[in-house]
Each structure stands twice: as structure tokens, then as C-alpha cells.
């Protein structure tokens, strides 16, 4: 009887904690909604910054965020997946590969500001990219690369060895086995890793501020070399204004950021499910 009670008690405790977490999240969203919903409008989405809160829009930051995240994905995903394939399929046993593995695990835990400083030194200054979209995306790509690599390795490891053996036994090379058999099976897992990595990247502020992404730009970026700003920086900028009207803009900006994040995740989950259905 005592065991049963303990079991019940634990279940209740877990439920309570879950409700607490969800409750605070809901309160947060409700609060933002109350402050910002009235500011949401088509002109807010398509407008540019202004000294008057009522005229200020967010198009420059929204397009900056989308542009930067697309370039980040284009850089981090191929490099990350390729690195994971090397580590998992080709070099697992070597001493060299083991050193790299330990380092990648550690890199995933490094504070993002450190990546910002690295980006400032490497991309902005040494490589002469300036404070451009490319420099920002490169910095974010470095930041999420460990996450992409670790998730991809997990996904590759979960592919049953019998599939690899079946392919080798037919005279497939390692490359053919990885490309035609292992990667398709691992793809849903890799996509999940991508969602996590890019969701992290889209909310990052510190590394982009440290590479000098502008807090006041009056235009949308039109090339890889344009200066840019992103949603979190714009929100931070509005929050730090003394005028109370700008607080409403910040809340509305947060809603836009949340919507963008949800859209991205939904798209990736849809892709993943579609692929999983195709496999089974």
C-alpha cells in the first residue's frame, strides 16, 4: 500500500511541476500578447524603424533574421552533417577522431558570447567580411555546428547495422552505403537536430551584438555583404528605450519572433513526418 501511495505522490508531484512550467510560459505569452497585440498590424510588419513608436515597424529586423538563419543553415547543415559522417562512419576508432569528439561535446557548452568574439576576430576583421550578413551567419553557424554534429551522429548511430551489412554484402562501397542506405534512414533524426540548432540560432543576440550587428538600420539587407539587424536585437533596442510606447513595440516584436520560430519548427516537423511515412 505504501508503495502505491508513493507512486501516486510522485505522479502528482511531476504533474504539479509540469503545470508550473507550462503555467509560467502561458503567463509570459499572455503578458506579451496584452502589451503587443494592439501594435501588430500589416504596417508594423512592413515598416522600418522610426523615432516615433507608432510609426516604427519591424521589416528590417524580420528580413534580417530570416536572411541570417537561411545562410546559417546553408553553412552549418552541410558542414555539420559531413563532419558527423566522417566521425561516425570513417574515423571512429582513431585517436584523432576521439580528440575531435571530446572537443565537439565541449564546444556545444561554450557561452555564445565567446563565439561572438571569435566571429569578430575571425570573420569581421581577419577575413574582412565586415559587419555583414555573411559574418553574422558564419558566427551563428559556428555556434550551432556542435549541436548539428552531435544530433547527426546520434541519428547515424541509430541506423540498424543490418542495413549497412546488407548493402556491403551486395558489393556497395562505403560511400554508396552511407549515401543510399544510411542517410535516408537517419534523415528524420538529422532534421530534428536541425530544428533544435536553428531554433537556438534565431534567438541569439549576444554573438551578433559583439560582431557589431547594428541596432539601428533603416533598410532590409539585400546581399550577403549588407549590414543587418535581427529581431532579438531590435527587441532589446526597444525595451531599453525610456518611452513607454516602445515597450508595446518590443512586445509585438517578441510575438513576431515567436511566430517565426513556430513556423520554422512546424515546417521541419512536417518535413520529418512526411519522410518517416515514406520509409515505413
Amino acid at each position: 500500500m505504501k508503495r502505491r501511495l508513493l507512486d501516486l505522490g510522485f505522479q502528482a508531484l511531476a504533474l504539479l511541476i509540469l503545470l508550473l512550467a507550462l503555467g509560467s510560459l502561458a503567463a509570459l505569452i499572455a503578458d506579451i500578447w496584452r502589451d503587443g497585440a494592439s501594435r501588430l498590424s500589416w504596417s508594423f510588419l512592413t515598416g522600418f524603424p522610426s523615432r516615433r513608436a507608432a510609426d516604427a515597424g519591424i521589416f528590417h529586423a524580420l528580413s534580417g533574421s530570416v536572411f541570417v538563419i537561411v545562410v546559417t543553415a546553408a553553412l552549418a547543415v552541410p558542414i555539420g552533417v559531413a563532419s558527423a559522417i566522417y566521425l561516425e562512419e570513417y574515423g571512429t576508432r582513431s585517436f584523432f577522431a576521439r580528440i575531435i569528439e571530446i572537443n565537439i561535446t565541449n564546444l556545444a557548452a561554450v557561452p555564445s558570447i565567446i563565439y561572438g568574439l571569435l566571429g569578430l576576430g575571425l570573420f569581421v576583421r581577419a577575413m574582412g567580411m565586415g559587419r555583414s550578413v555573411l559574418a553574422g551567419a558564419s558566427t551563428l553557424a559556428l555556434l550551432v555546428l556542435p549541436v548539428v554534429i552531435l544530433a547527426t551522429r546520434e541519428a547515424l548511430r541509430a541506423v540498424p547495422p543490418s542495413i549497412r551489412e546488407g548493402s556491403y554484402a551486395l558489393g556497395a562501397t562505403k560511400w554508396q552505403t552511407v549515401w543510399f542506405q544510411v542517410l535516408p534512414v537517419a534523415l528524420p533524426g538529422i532534421l530534428t537536430g536541425m530544428i533544435l540548432a536553428l531554433s537556438r540560432a534565431i534567438g541569439e543576440t549576444a554573438p551578433l551584438i559583439s560582431i557589431g550587428a547594428l541596432t539601428f538600420v533603416a533598410f532590409a539587407p539585400d546581399s550577403l555583404w549588407s549590414p543587418f539587424t535581427v529581431l532579438p536585437i531590435q527587441i532589446f533596442n526597444w525595451v531599453s528605450r525610456p518611452q513607454v510606447e516602445f515597450q508595446g513595440n518590443a512586445a509585438a516584436g517578441s510575438l513576431v519572433l515567436l511566430a517565426l520560430l513556430l513556423t520554422m519548427n512546424a515546417a521541419a516537423i512536417w518535413l520529418r513526418d512526411r519522410y518517416q511515412k515514406k520509409l515505413s
Binding site: P160, S162, G166, Y168, A169, G171, A172, Q176, F180, L279
Partner: protein, 278 residues
């Protein structure tokens, strides 16, 4: 009906009655192992195996679990190469060329020496793509029609065509266990190997599916040299012409199947085939 009629026949009777053991003739052996040793790290799993396997017959490997029969089978197409930390000493000659010699193309070897695994392992793709995969990666299919013809031929050979001809684009994972295993056989046959290695191909199947696989093995030996690992001694007696008995990594005895089951030379073989241990 007399009482004796329902007593199952002994292994010796099965082996003698099947009468299928073919004369080996004077053709050179298809596969020849010479003082083969195999190591997992420091553990020696095979000890000085020397054996000559003849073309176009079925050779069965029997023995208790862990005796090295599967390990030996996997040295014949170098499947053990993909397990890190393994090492081979000695020679395996296929058509008189050492497959562990310098400059051997392992990928080309595995195309010539097909393999079917204990647990059927169809790729998570369509039935057609499972069979076509080997043809595609080996560049063996010129045109689309040629590819389809080869896929159909292979499915016929594996006695699966009639069951799947209307749903070639369906997922291979939707097939039953026995069908999946025959699909894996079709897949292996598609690339036209000389030798087919079968690692307990029926051990996970029900009796009817097992019987179909055994009939298939009997048909296929006209074209292929077949080596089959089995735990089931009835099966070895039914399908094979020659039998090799492995024990603790050594080859204890290797002879014609009828002799192995009726009049083995070694006491150990006799004890094993009569079920005294194993």
C-alpha cells in the same frame, strides 16, 4: 497404420533417403581455405581451418553456438572486415585466387560472393528498389527496361514473383518474414554472384516458410555454389551434399552429408549429430 509409421525418421535416414548427394567430380574446388586463423582482438575464433568447398553443391556448416561457423562463413566474403579489431591469418582461395591477397578489391569480391543473413534485412524502400539496388550501385543496369527485366528474373529465381508482381512499388517492410527473406535472396541473386552464403537463413521463420527456403536452396545449387550455416540438423541433412562440423573454432570433420550423419569418423561428430550435446 502401424505405430512405427508415425515415428519421425532419424537424421541418418533423412540424409540417406534424400539421395541428393551429387558426385563432386574432378572440377577444382570453388572455395579453398588454407590454415585459416581468425582473431577478434586477442581471441582466436578460428583455428587452422583447411577445407575445400566444391562448386554447384550445397555445403552445410553445423556446430553448437559460438563454434565459429558463422565467423568462418563471413571470412568468405570478407564481411568481418567491417568489424573493427579483427584479423585474419592464412589464405582463402576462391577460383584459386587468394581473397586476402594484396590488391584484392573487396567490393568486387562481395558482388561475386552474395550473402543472406540470419535476420532478414530488407532496405526500407520499395520491393523493386530492394532488388534493383545492387544492380544500380554496381552499374549493371543499362536501361530502365533492362533493370526491370533483371529485377523480375531475380524475383522469379527466389520464388517470390507471383506474390509481389502486383505491388512492386509497395514497401518491402510490409512483406511477411518468409517473403522478406526470399526478397533478400532475390536481392543477392540480382547481381549474379557465383557463390551464395546463407547464415541461418530460416532460423527466424515458421516451418512452411522454412520449407520454401529449403526448396529454393535445392533449386539454386544448379547455378550457384551454396554454403549454408544452420543450427537445424534436420535441415543440414535435407538440403546439403557436404557437411562441415565445427567445434570450439576448429573444423572437426568434413565429409559427404550422408556419411556425416550415418557413419562419422570422429566421436565428437557422432555425439553432436545424435544430439548428445550442443
Amino acid at each position: 497404420m502401424s505405430k512405427a509409421a508415425i515415428v519421425p525418421p532419424s537424421l541418418a535416414e533423412v540424409a540417406a533417403r534424400s539421395g541428393q548427394q551429387q558426385p563432386v567430380g574432378d572440377r577444382p574446388p570453388k572455395i579453398q581455405a588454407e590454415r585459416l586463423n581468425f582473431f577478434y582482438a586477442e581471441t582466436r575464433a578460428l583455428e587452422d581451418i583447411s577445407v575445400a568447398i566444391h562448386p554447384n553443391i550445397v555445403t552445410a556448416f553445423i556446430g553448437p553456438s559460438g563454434c565459429g561457423k558463422s565467423t568462418f562463413l563471413r571470412t568468405l566474403n570478407r564481411m568481418n572486415d567491417i568489424i573493427p579489431g579483427t584479423r585474419v591469418e592464412g589464405k582463402v582461395l576462391i577460383d584459386e585466387a587468394d581473397i586476402y591477397g594484396p590488391g584484392v578489391d573487396v567490393v568486387a569480391l562481395r558482388r561475386r560472393v552474395g550473402m543472406v543473413f540470419q535476420k532478414s534485412n530488407p532496405f526500407p524502400k520499395s520491393i523493386f528498389d530492394n532488388v534493383a539496388y545492387g544492380l544500380r550501385i554496381n552499374g549493371m543496369a543499362g536501361s530502365r527496361s533492362e533493370l526491370s527485366a533483371r529485377v523480375e528474373e531475380s524475383l522469379h529465381q527466389a520464388a517470390l514473383w507471383d506474390e509481389v508482381k502486383d505491388r512492386l512499388e509497395a514497401s518491402a517492410l510490409a512483406l511477411s518474414g518468409g517473403q522478406q527473406q526470399r526478397l533478400c535472396i532475390a536481392r543477392a541473386l540480382a547481381v549474379r554472384p557465383d557463390i551464395l552464403l546463407m547464415d541461418e537463413p530460416a532460423s527466424a521463420l515458421d516451418p512452411i516458410a522454412t520449407q520454401r527456403i529449403e526448396e529454393l536452396v535445392y533449386d539454386l545449387k544448379k547455378t550457384y555454389t551454396i554454403v549454408i550455416v544452420t543450427h537445424n540438423m534436420q535441415q543440414a541433412a535435407r538440403v546439403s551434399d557436404y557437411t562441415a562440423f565445427f567445434w570450439l573454432g576448429r573444423l572437426v570433420e568434413y565429409d559427404r552429408t550422408d556419411k556425416m550423419f550415418t557413419n562419422p569418423s570422429e566421436k565428437l561428430t557422432e555425439d553432436y549429430v545424435t544430439g548428445r550435446f550442443g
